[in-house]
C-alpha cells in the first residue's frame, strides 16, 4: 500500500503524516544528486539498525527466542523430562480435531462477547451520555467505575466466587430479598450458566476500562460538531451515530484490541472460580496450556495450544485494526 501512496498527489496534511516518504519525494540536496541511487542526506541508513540493536536484543532474548522455542517444542511429544519424540504438526492437528480442545476455543469466543463486546457497548452508552450533558462529579464516577481494574484478578475471582455462592452468596440473597427467589441459580455449578457467569465477572472488570478510554475520547470531539448536528435537527440517537461513534473509532479499536487479548488469554478467572468445570463447561485454551504443561506432562501439546492462541489473538487484533482504519478513510 505504501508503494502507491507517494505517487498519488498528497494533501499537505498527509505529507506531514507521511514523514520520511514526503522528504524522499523532494531530492534537493547540495550535490545535485538527482540520480536514483543517490542516498538521502544525513548518516547512512544502515547505521539506524545499530541504534535499534540494544532494544532488539532485549526483544529477541525475552520474546522472540522464547516464542521460537515454544514453536519448536510444539512440534514434539514431550513430557518435560524424558527424551521427546517428533510429532510434526500432530499437536496442531489435535487443536483442531480434539473435541475437548475445540470446545475450549469455542468457550474463549463466547467469553469474547463478555470481555470485549459488552464492556465496549456499555462504555459507549456511558460515553454517549457524557457527551450530551455536563455530569457533575464525573471524575468521581469514573474512578469508582474504573476501580475493578485496579484490583488483582485473583481477588476479583475469589470475591465473585462468594457472590455466586448458591445458598448464601450475595447475588442469590439479593434476588430473594426483592422477591425473585425463583430466579436464584447455582451460578457456577450449572452446566449452561457457568460460562456466562464467569463472563459476567469479566464484564464487571473491563467495562470500566472501556468507559475511561471512550469518555476520554468523547472529550476530544470538537463541541462544534455537536452544535452543527443540533442545528441540523439531530436527536440524541442520531447525534450518537453521526458524531460520537465515528469520532471514537480509534478509541473503540484500542478498547476492543485490549479486551480481546484479555479475553483470549483468560486463565486466572477460570482457574480460581471453576477450574474449567462443571464437566468441561468452562475450559479455556489458556487453562489447558497450564494444565498440560505443568500438571499432565504434555508440554508439546501445551506449546501448540499456546502458539495457536497467539495466532488467533494476532489475527483478531489485525482484523479489528483493519476495520477501524478502513472506516477512517
Amino acid at each position: 500500500m505504501s508503494a502507491i501512496e507517494p505517487a498519488t498527489p498528497t494533501s499537505p496534511a498527509s505529507a506531514v503524516a507521511g514523514g520520511a516518504a514526503g522528504a524522499e519525494a523532494k531530492p534537493d540536496w547540495p550535490l545535485g544528486g538527482t540520480r536514483p541511487e543517490a542516498r538521502p542526506p544525513g548518516e547512512p541508513r544502515r547505521v539506524g539498525y545499530l541504534y535499534i540493536l540494544p532494544a532488539f536484543l532485549i526483544l529477541a532474548g525475552l520474546i522472540l527466542y522464547p516464542l521460537g522455542h515454544a514453536v519448536y517444542l510444539s512440534l514434539w511429544h514431550w513430557d518435560g523430562l524424558t527424551t521427546g519424540t517428533w510429532a510434526g504438526l500432530e499437536n496442531y492437528a489435535d487443536v483442531v480435531s480434539d473435541p475437548a480442545l475445540r470446545s475450549s476455543f469455542a468457550h474463549a469466543l463466547v467469553l469474547l462477547a463478555f470481555y470485549a463486546l459488552l464492556p465496549v457497548a456499555i462504555g459507549l452508552l456511558i460515553a454517549g451520555l457524557v457527551a450530551r450533558a455536563q455530569v457533575r462529579g464525573l471524575a468521581f464516577f469514573r474512578t469508582v467505575i474504573f476501580l475493578p481494574q485496579v484490583i488483582a484478578m485473583v481477588v476479583v475471582a475469589v470475591m465473585w466466587r462468594m457472590i455466586y455462592e448458591p445458598e448464601n452468596g450475595a447475588l442469590n440473597e439479593l434476588l430473594r430479598a426483592v422477591g425473585l427467589g425463583s430466579l436464584t441459580q447455582s451460578w457456577l455449578g450449572d452446566f449452561d450458566l457457568a460460562l456466562p457467569s464467569v463472563g459476567g465477572i469479566a464484564t464487571w472488570v473491563y467495562y470500566g476500562l472501556a468507559m475511561v478510554l471512550l469518555t476520554a475520547g468523547v472529550q476530544k470531539i470538537p463541541q462544534s460538531l455537536y452544535d452543527a448536528a443540533r442545528v441540523d435537527g439531530a436527536g440524541p440517537v442520531r447525534e450518537f451515530f453521526a458524531v460520537t461513534l465515528p469520532g471514537l473509532r480509534g478509541e473503540i479499536a484500542v478498547a476492543l484490541t485490549l479486551t480481546t487479548i484479555f479475553a483470549l488469554r483468560n486463565f486466572d478467572l477460570v482457574y480460581i472460580t471453576t477450574k474449567g468445570g462443571p464437566g468441561d463447561a468452562t475450559s479455556v485454551p489458556a487453562f489447558e496450556v497450564y494444565d498440560r504443561a505443568f500438571q499432565t506432562g504434555q508440554v508439546g501439546s501445551a506449546a501448540a495450544i499456546g502458539i495457536s492462541l497467539a495466532v488467533v489473538i494476532f489475527l483478531i487484533s489485525v482484523l479489528i485494526n483493519r476495520v477501524a482504519e478502513r472506516g477512517a478513510r
Binding site: 516464542l67 514453536v71 517444542l73 514434539w76 513430557d79 524424558t82 521427546g84 445458598e167 506432562g297
Partner: protein, 451 residues
Amino acid sequence: MKLTRAIMLALAALVAAFAVGCGSPGESSDDAETTATTSATERVDVAAAGDVTLTVWDQEVRGGQDAQIRRLNEQFQEKYPNVTIRRVAKSFEDLNTTLKLAVSGPRAPDVVQANQGRPVMGSLVRARLLRPLTDYAEVYGWDDRYSKLLIDLNKFSADGRQFGTGDLYGLSQMGEIVGVFYNKRLVRRLPETLEQFEAQLAEAKRAGQTPIQFGNLDKWPGIHEYETVLGRYASPQAVSDFVFAADGASFDTPEFTEAASAIQGWARAGYFTEDFNGVGYDPAWQRFTRGESPYLIAGTWLVADLARAMGDDVGFMVLPGQSADDEPVALGGEGLPFTITTASRNPDVAAAYIDFITDANAARVLVETDNLPAMFVPEGVAPTDGLIGDVFAAWRALNEANGIIPYLDYATPTFYDDISGAIQELLAGKQSPEQFTAGVQSKFSEFTGSL
C-alpha cells in the same frame, strides 16, 4: 506490508529456535552415568561421612506438619552434627509445578517429596531422576513399618511403566483416610450397614435437613465422594488393580457402574447439598460444623478444623458395608513420599535421613504434633479419645484389614482431569452410570494402549 513483515519475523524466530534447539527436547548424555548407582548392603555410619549438606524439598508447610518436620530435622542434626539440612519448604502446588524442573536441573536437591502415582513419581522414575531404594529398604527393614498398600503406592518398575510393583522409591510420613464425619447431636445411632446408612439419609431428608454436606465446585471432592461409595461395591483389590493398571483391570465393570448408580441416586434423591456443583469445598464443611447436616464425607485433613469448631459433637467412621461384619474399606493413602534423587552425591546419608523421619521415634513426634502417622505406631502412643481417637482406630483397623483403596487420580497422567469432570456430569445427571464408566474406561485404555 505490515503483515508480511510480521510473518517474516515469525519465520526468523522459527529458524532461530531450530538453530538453538537442535535435537529432541529432554535429551541428555548422562543417562548411563545416572543409572550406575551402587547398591547398599549395610547401614552407613552417618557420623563418619564427613561434612555433608542435604538439600531437602518438602511441602510440610501447614501447622502440625511444619512442627513435626522442624523437630525431626533438629533431632537429626543434633544426632549427626556433621550433617546440615538445607530445607526448602514449598506449598503442595508450588512443589508439584517446580519439582520436575528442579530435579532435572544441574543443582538438583538430594531429597524431594514426589507425589505418588504416574503424573509425578512415574514420570520422574521414567526419566531416571529418582534412585530406587529397594536396597535401603532391606538394610533398614522399611517393609515392616507399613501395611502392604502403603509400600506398593511408592513402587514403580525401573522403566516407570508399571505402577505398584518393582522398586521402592520413597517413604511417606503421614496417613490419611477419606471417611464419614458425623454430628453426634443429629446421629443418634451409628448405622452398621450401608442400608441403615441410606435409611438415615432418607430420614434426614424428610426432616428437611441436608443429609450430606458436599461442595464440588473445586472438582476434586467428587472423586472422594465417588470412591467412598465405590469401596463398598468393588473389592479393594479391584480398585488398586485398576489404579496400578494391572493386566485386565477395568473401570467398566458391573461393580464400578453400580457404585456410580448408587451415588447418582443419592444426588437425585437430594441427599447432597443443594447445587453442590456450585458450592466450594470449604463452605460445605463449614456448614457441617454449624450443625446443618448429620454427615460429611471428607478427609482426615479436616480433623483439626472440625474438632476446633464442634468439640465433642463430631465423630468419624468408615462408610459401613453391605453387611455389619464386612471388613472396613475406605479411600485413603499417605502423604507425599520422601525420595532420593539420582543426582544426590550422598544417597547413603539421604537414606539415613529418610529412615530417621519414618522410624518409631518419628511416629511418636508425629502423634505429638497432631498428625496421623502412616507407619505402624508403637503401643500406647496413639490417642484414644475424641475425634482423633476415632481416626487412629479407623486407620489401624483399615491397615490390619488391608482395606485402604488408593486415589483413582494416580491412575494415568491425565486421569484427574478425566474423572473429576466426568463425576460432575454423573452427579448432575448429564451422564448415565453406564456412560460414565464406559467413558472413563475409554480414556484409561487410551493411556494403557500407550504403555
